[in-house]
């Protein structure tokens, strides 16, 4: 609502506002280590490590790539065994598999091809996410030790999923949103995150999305909906910095009649919910005068980022109204 209020203030006045580029002299601080780690139902864990950079550090591909950490020992304790994760680096991945690797770790394939970026996982299938289990992550790199704990929750299954035309475009019979019905379990403390991926071919013959995309703010908890059955919807998320045509024309934010969409619905814990919620806020309010600047909440001891257990279910929706 704050964001909307902000937008209103601007529009209400139809002001003669103007904008200019300025130079800002920021202090330099020691970099912090950022963990992006997750473990999903039936899948091995995946951990990416990076360091914070000064806001106005160079933005070349090599500079951004240099923020990723390639030298670390990463372990996951599942309560019975401590698993040492395997490091996979993009320079060792054959080009033919880069697209797939990109989809898996959520980093653009081009970037993976140009820079050596490493991720940690368990290749032999000995560590697959099990619902109800607690996983403890440990990272040792460059003399720093980071740790975090997550519980992979039991997945809540959606009652139904369907496509519906957008009410705000009454003259259009192709664009819409995907709706779901959920019955929240009658215990407080459940939270959810939504992902979607269009797998039908776009104009270039390739699938429209190369990975699951979670729109900003597509997380919710059951504080106000505990035990209820209700409908909800999400708009179509946009891949970061996307240059795709339908992310830059009037179709942005909408699914289209005829799309085949995989919906990944994840049940998460409260700490994970707070991370994704504050992440959405951080992305959408950068430097904005209408909100108090806030750092992203983290569950990593000794660093930033997230170690998340996701109880996932994947469904397919064909977009026919």
């Amino acid at each position: 609502m704050k964001r909307t209020l902000g937008a209103i203030v601007m529009m209400a006045l139809m002001v003669s506002s103007c904008e200019k580029d300025i130079d800002v002299d920021l202090p330099t601080t020691a970099p912090k280590i950022v963990v992006e780690g997750s473990i999903e139902t039936g899948a091995p864990p995946l951990v990416l490590l990076s360091r914070t950079q000064g806001f106005f550090d160079p933005t070349t591909v090599s500079s951004i790539a240099s923020s990723f950490i390639s030298d670390a020992v990463v372990t996951v304790d599942d309560g019975t065994t401590i698993h040492v994760l395997d490091r996979i680096c993009s320079d060792l991945i054959p080009d033919s598999l880069l697209e797939e690797a990109a989809a898996l770790i959520g980093i653009d394939a081009e970037l993976l091809a140009q820079a050596n970026i490493c991720a940690w996982t368990k290749l032999d299938g000995s560590l697959l996410g099990m619902e109800g289990r607690t996983y403890r992550l440990n990272v040792a790199t460059g003399g720093n030790t980071l740790s975090a704990t997550t519980t992979l929750p039991n997945a809540v299954t959606l009652d139904s999923l369907w496509f519906r035309l957008a009410e705000q475009r009454p003259d259009d019979d192709t664009l819409g949103f995907i709706w779901g019905t959920i019955t929240d379990p009658d215990t407080i403390g459940n939270a959810y995150r939504w992902f979607a991926r269009r797998i039908n071919a776009g104009a270039d013959g390739e699938p429209k999305d190369d990975r699951f995309i979670s729109p900003l703010f597509s997380v919710f908890e059951d504080k106000y909906v505990n035990g209820l059955t209700f409908d909800f919807f999400y708009n179509r998320g946009t891949a970061p910095y996307s240059t795709a045509t339908d992310d830059n024309n009037e179709e942005v934010g909408y699914f289209k009649r005829g799309d085949t969409v995989l919906v990944k619905f994840a049940t998460i814990g409260i700490d994970e919910y707070r991370f994704y919620e504050s992440f959405s806020n951080n992305v959408s309010t950068q430097g904005d005068v209408f909100s108090n600047p806030a750092n992203i909440r983290t569950n990593i001891n000794g660093g930033l980022g997230i170690w998340a257990g996701l109880g996932v279910r994947i469904d397919t929706v064909i977009c026919t109204p």
Binding site: D23, I64, D288
Partner: protein, 801 residues
């Protein structure tokens, strides 16, 4: 403290007992044309050199030994009234002042009238005569009294175009804003760009920044006391104006001549009406519209020579309709506003005892309704205050002027009630019970001359606050979620606070034209404003003190040197202050509004302290063709919260090292008046990201130091020119052929105004944009500064009849 009271009563008694019998000369000072009482008119006895000022109701009392005296009554813009009074018994007189034959200027600051600047114990106090502000430049031509207040030293604005104000390092919730004694909680329209006070309906404004007298309380930084006009009791008149964004109309007149009068004043913006034809119906903006309106009304009736009653009210609303701009955004309507009602009864018990009793009602509400498809979202928050207060002014002897009284307020707060539904499913968001509290105060103060040179204003205020049920107190787990609760029944005590607040101001006169003053005051505040954003928005929620939230405490020490030059043509002062704040509140870092439901309203708050110190320089010229003032403030305002900024001290957002304002008006001729204002302020402290990192391929920011960066300095020049149409016309007698000049009944003027005359791009906020594709090497980050108003001309047509 008891010792202090004893000393006080000793002084009072001592001087009561001493010497000969004193008689009192009392009465009202009024405008001869309209019968409107003149607040603060100065009544001086030439023989003794002593003077008094008429109170808020135009009433004055002067105690003198029996004798023959020359009494002079004056008020800026009026001819001085001089009369000889043979005082052999208590006497009541009515003094009517005539407007000056030649209206030199329409704009004058009444300020510390006559010798008031150096004579009174008042410090950090300024009066503004609102009716004379029309010739100053104004944003989009909307004359705004709160924006004029921001030109005073020690008062800071809340950013470009904003009517919010901060006094001597205090927060926006620490200003007591009274409209005819009723509290106004949110004094702004349009998210702060305009204030709710329609200048046409307002008679007088007094701002108290320091040395707060004991008759005011409940806020720790300042008092803004606004009195509405009473209405002309002799003849029917009207005035109004047509501006670029709003129009105004005020009507006033007698109900019963010389006994009773009324005034009604309205204002409405028409941005919505004007823009609708130009907005493309296809565009996202087509369903959007905005307007606000105000209605002020007041009536009074003189029951007898001793009794007068007043009834006044204000009602204002902002309404915003907005059509969703992005896919999945809702359509919504936001409406908020204030309503106040004040019923007052003045009674003169005898020449030496004047009473005012006021019953007040204040209401502030905010409602947000959103709808998208089958979803509905409603949010409501509000405050209702019902109050009763009684003030007695007692003038026992020539040397003492006592005031005592009491006040009671019942608070009824709704922090936020949210209803959300999806289709037929209602989300289970518990309605927070309305929060009820009793607030009471008793005070006594005495303004007395200890010696001819030393005058003291000493007072104490006893305040008490009780948060009572119904209420649900939740027990929270380590993540802040409710795990249990305890119910309090209606009226059951939950938290209670009581405090004794000392107030002391002294004036030591060096000579006829200069004095030194010093003051000390401590106050408690039992209401707090909690904001999730960094500017004041109507979504900000007022919350009462509770078990968790202790009352805010403000302590201020100030001293100053006051000097007049050239027969009071120039009034100057330099004041130093130090102010200390305790129990300030902020939301915890990363707190979000949606976490506020189904738990205690104060669960996300953190607590801290603050201080502010500064020097204020003020030079004012109230007389002559060129008049106005220059104010300069050097100050520092810091905050310290254990839970914010790693516990390190940080600059408050309204910390400004330098703040300069110049306000000038020049009466060129009978028809032309020119006005100019200039401000310069150190850049605002803001929090900016220092580091970046990527999450899921999106750039995110890491903030390190709160308010660690300064935006560019703010400076701006505004200009105005007022052209009055001819006020007289020639009339030729058809019989005699004689030509005479007669006054026109209908008078009008044009005010041309230019905001930001040299088109300075002042920073409104800074944001860091990022764009491009990190993988393609086209990624860029860039700091951008947004400025709100470039040069903005406007024109307003005002009329009077």
């Amino acid at each position: 403290m008891i010792r202090f009271l004893l000393i006080l009563s000793f002084f009072t008694l001592g001087s009561m007992l001493h010497g000969q019998r004193t008689l009192s000369l009392s009465g009202y000072v009024k405008d001869a044309a309209s019968g409107e009482t003149l607040i603060g008119a100065s009544v001086i006895c030439k023989e003794t050199g002593k003077g008094v000022n008429a109170n808020t109701f135009g009433y004055f009392v002067m105690n003198l030994p029996a004798g023959r005296y020359t009494i002079s009554t004056s008020f800026i813009g009026y001819q001085e009234d001089i009369r000889t009074i043979d005082l052999q018994e208590d006497r009541k007189i009515s003094i009517e002042l005539k407007g000056e034959a030649i209206q030199v200027g329409e704009f004058e600051v009444v300020g510390e009238r006559g010798e008031e600047n150096t004579e009174s114990t008042r410090m950090g106090t300024v009066d503004l005569d609102v009716q004379k502000l029309n010739t100053l430049p104004a944003l989009l031509g909307e004359v705004d009294i709160l924006k004029v207040i921001q030109f005073l030293p020690g008062v800071k604005s809340n950013g470009e175009g904003n009517s919010g104000f901060y006094v001597r390092g205090g927060g926006p919730d620490q200003n007591l804003i009274l409209l005819d004694d009723a509290t106004v909680y949110n004094a702004s329209h349009l998210f702060g760009f305009f204030s709710v006070f329609n200048a046409d309906a307002v008679k007088n404004i007094e701002l108290i920044k320091g040395g707060m007298p004991a008759n005011y309380g409940g806020r720790i930084s300042s008092v803004l006391d606004i009195n509405m006009k009473e209405g002309n009791e002799r003849a029917f008149h009207g005035q109004g104006g047509i501006g670029l964004i709003s129009s105004r109309l005020t009507l006033e007149g007698p109900i019963v001549k010389d006994r009773s009068s009324f005034i009604v004043s309205g204002r409405r913006t028409y941005v919505d009406v004007l823009t609708k034809p130009f907005v493309n119906p296809e565009s996202q903006l087509s369903g959007s519209g905005y307007y606000f309106y105000d209605l002020n009304a007041k009536a009074n009736y003189r029951l007898s020579e001793k009794d007068r009653v007043y009834l006044s009210g204000y009602f204002g609303r902002d309404v915003f309709d907005f059509a969703g701009a992005n896919p999945g955004d809702p359509d919504f309507r936001i409406a908020w506003g204030n309503a106040t009602v004040a019923a007052r009864w003045n009674h003169v018990f005898g020449p030496k005892l004047f009473m005012n009793t006021t019953a007040t009602f204040s209401d502030y509400s905010f409602a947000f309704n959103a709808r998208q498809d089958q979803f509905a979202f409603k949010l409501f928050s509000g405050i209702k205050d019902i109050g009763l207060k009684m003030d007695l002014s007692h003038y026992p002897t020539a040397r003492h002027s006592l005031k005592y009284g009491g006040q009671y307020i019942f608070h009824d707060y709704t922090t936020s009630t949210v209803d959300v539904s999806s289709g037929d499913t209602e989300f289970n968001i518990q309605d927070p019970p309305t929060l009820n509290a009793h607030e009471g105060a008793l005070y006594v103060m005495d303004d007395f001359d200890l010696t001819d040179a030393l005058r003291i204003n000493a007072g104490v205020r006893l305040t008490t606050f009780h948060h009572v049920g119904p209420y649900t107190l939740y027990a929270l787990d380590e993540r802040g979620r409710a795990i249990g609760s305890r119910e309090f029944s209606a009226g059951a005590p939950i938290a209670s606070y009581t405090a004794l607040e000392p107030r002391l101001s002294t004036r030591f006169r060096i000579d006829k034209n200069s004095s030194i003053k010093a003051s000390f005051n401590r106050g408690q505040q039992y209401v707090h404003l909690a904001s999730f954003s960094s500017i004041a928005l109507p979504t900000d929620v007022w919350i009462p003190s509770s078990r968790n939230v202790r009352p805010q405490i403000g302590t201020q020490y100030s001293t100053g040197y006051f000097r007049d030059f050239k027969e009071h043509m120039f009034e100057t002062s330099i004041e130093l202050y130090y102010k200390d704040f305790d129990n300030l509140i902020e939301y915890a870092e990363g707190a979000s509004p949606q976490d506020n439901g189904n738990t205690n309203y104060d669960a996300q708050l953190v607590f801290g302290t603050g201080y502010s110190y500064g020097a204020e320089l003020f030079v004012k010229k109230a007389l002559g063709r060129v008049n106005g003032w220059v104010g300069y403030t050097w100050s520092r305002t810091m905050r310290e919260f254990p839970a914010i900024n790693n516990g390190n001290e940080f600059a408050s957002r309204w910390d400004r090292r330098h703040d300069l304002s110049v306000v000038l008006s020049y009466d060129h001729s009978k028809r032309w008046t020119f006005g100019a204002t200039f401000v310069y302020a150190t850049g605002q402290a803001v929090t900016l990201p220092v580091n970046r990192y990527f999450i899921e391929g999106r750039l995110v920011s890491e903030y390190t130091e709160r308010n660690g960066y300064r935006m560019a300095p703010y400076h701006r020049l505004d200009l105005a020119a007022t052209l009055r149409n001819k006020t007289t016309k020639q009339r030729t007698d058809p019989v005699t052929g004689e030509t005479t000049t007669v006054e026109k009944r209908w008078k009008s003027s044009w005010t041309f105004s230019v905001y930001n005359a040299y088109n300075r791009a002042n920073p409104y906020f800074i944001y860091f944009a990022n764009d491009g594709d990190p993988a393609a090497g086209t990624f860029q980050v860039q700091a951008k500064q947004v400025s709100l108003f470039t040069i903005l001309p406007s024109v307003t047509w005002n009329f009077k009849f």
